[in-house]
């Protein structure tokens, strides 16, 4: 199958959305348990993003966010990004560590906030659990074997963080394909974005495993 991001038809997009639905549904339940808070998920989106339109996803390319990165391997390969805006990062750390989040740097300048080791580690663990939940249901659904790596976090500009998975698509065309689900507590207190980003070679395998092609 010749898989071209630019010429995906509606049916494929619906299937990919359904994957997001099932995976993120499971992930939302896990997040809800970790935080002891009701977490809802928005209808998953299949984002086909032109490289120079990255800011249309979450916010400006220089917006400060926390981004946790994981890789998955097995029958299909790709990356996972879990993105939290600055406020949600702070709030989630508060819940997880049950303490007041103290910026490690000059607190007057918002741009110099960093994460301490324990804060970074707590967020990485959340992404780890969400990824396991997401990929676990994807694996059950498709019968594909999928493992994931240990997470790594960056607290930095959105564009710089999202460029990591986007560069992989750079070899194939002008667009990247992200299966995006927004997880939130219904307010802006906790708002995260979970991106499943299979490698371009993995799409035909996913679609085939579901009997779509």
């Amino acid at each position: 199958m010749n898989f071209e991001i630019e010429s995906l038809d509606e049916m494929y997009l619906d299937v990919l959305k359904e994957i997001g639905n099932i995976g993120a549904g499971n992930a939302a339940t896990s997040l809800s348990k970790i935080l002891g808070k009701k977490i809802d998920m928005a209808v998953p989106k299949v984002n086909i993003i032109k490289f120079n339109e990255v800011e249309e996803i979450v916010g400006g390319a220089d917006t400060l966010v926390a981004g946790v990165y994981l890789e998955f391997t097995g029958d299909i390969e790709g990356t996972i990004m879990f993105i939290l805006d600055e406020k949600s990062t702070e709030n989630m750390i508060n819940i997880l560590l049950n303490s007041i989040w103290v910026p490690t740097d000059n607190s007057k300048n918002k741009n110099t906030k960093g994460l301490s080791e324990i804060e970074a580690s707590a967020l990485e663990e959340v992404a780890n659990i969400l990824s396991a939940a997401y990929l676990g249901s994807l694996s059950t659904l498709t019968g594909l074997k999928i493992m994931h790596s240990v997470p790594d976090i960056a607290f930095d500009m959105l564009g710089a963080i999202l460029s990591v998975p986007m560069i992989e698509f750079g070899q194939f065309g002008e667009h990247a394909l992200f299966i995006e689900t927004e997880l939130s507590d219904g307010s802006d207190y906790i708002k995260g974005y979970f991106f499943l980003i299979p490698n371009i070679e993995s799409y035909p395998i996913i679609l085939k495993s579901l009997g779509v092609v």
């Binding site: 490289f51 120079n52 339109e53 990255v54 800011e55 400006g60 390319a61 220089d62 400060l64 990165y69 890789e71 391997t73 390969e77 740097d105 741009n111 110099t112 906030k113 960093g114 790596s149 240990v150 790594d152 960056a154 607290f155 930095d156 500009m157 959105l158 564009g159 710089a160 963080i161 999202l162 460029s163 990591v164 986007m166 560069i167 992989e168 750079g170 070899q171 194939f172 065309g173 002008e174």
Partner: protein, 162 residues
């Protein structure tokens, strides 16, 4: 007021003084800032990958270090720049995450982008007068065509002028 021109990822643009060219949130990508001091003409490219060779879909010249340098010079010349007066400053090429697991060719892409950019500039005989590359953090850059200053903003690592 000066005109601010945004350059996206895998994109490039040019401006005459007093225009300002900017590109936001560079990670492993590299910003190539060219400047003709006499004519006060600037050009800024935001490249994603080192080379257009061995890549089937390589029509976007702004995406690759090799083709972006060539194309940016061409565009600046069309505005009246002289290649003998053009100098370069580059920024970016970070490694945002530790790739502990996968051993693919996208490993150290930032480093490879920087190396390919320097090579392309050398081949075009454009001297590189300053660079701020590497590390594990994002950068936003602004090229001031009034004097060729390249302003580099980071989160938590301060602001630099090169």
């Amino acid at each position: 007021m000066e005109q601010i021109i945004k350059v996206g990822m895998a994109d490039l643009n040019i401006a005459k003084a007093p225009g300002i060219l900017t590109t936001l949130g560079l990670g492993s990508c590299v910003a190539i800032a060219l400047y003709d001091r006499k004519q006060k003409i600037g050009g800024l490219a935001h490249i994603m990958l080192p080379s257009s060779k061995n890549i089937k879909r390589n029509e976007n010249k702004a995406k690759f270090a090799d083709t972006a340098v060539e194309y940016l010079i061409e565009k600046m010349e069309s505005l009246g720049a002289d290649i003998n007066d053009i100098t370069a400053k580059i920024a970016g090429g970070a490694q945002m995450f530790a790739f502990k697991n996968k051993n693919n060719d996208l490993l150290r892409i930032g480093e490879r982008n920087v190396a390919a950019t320097l090579k392309a500039l050398e081949e075009a005989k454009i001297p590189v007068i300053a660079q701020d590359t590497g590390g594990n953090y994002g950068r936003t850059v602004e090229l001031y065509t009034e004097d060729g200053t390249l302003l580099i903003k980071t989160i938590g690592k301060g602001i630099k002028r090169i």
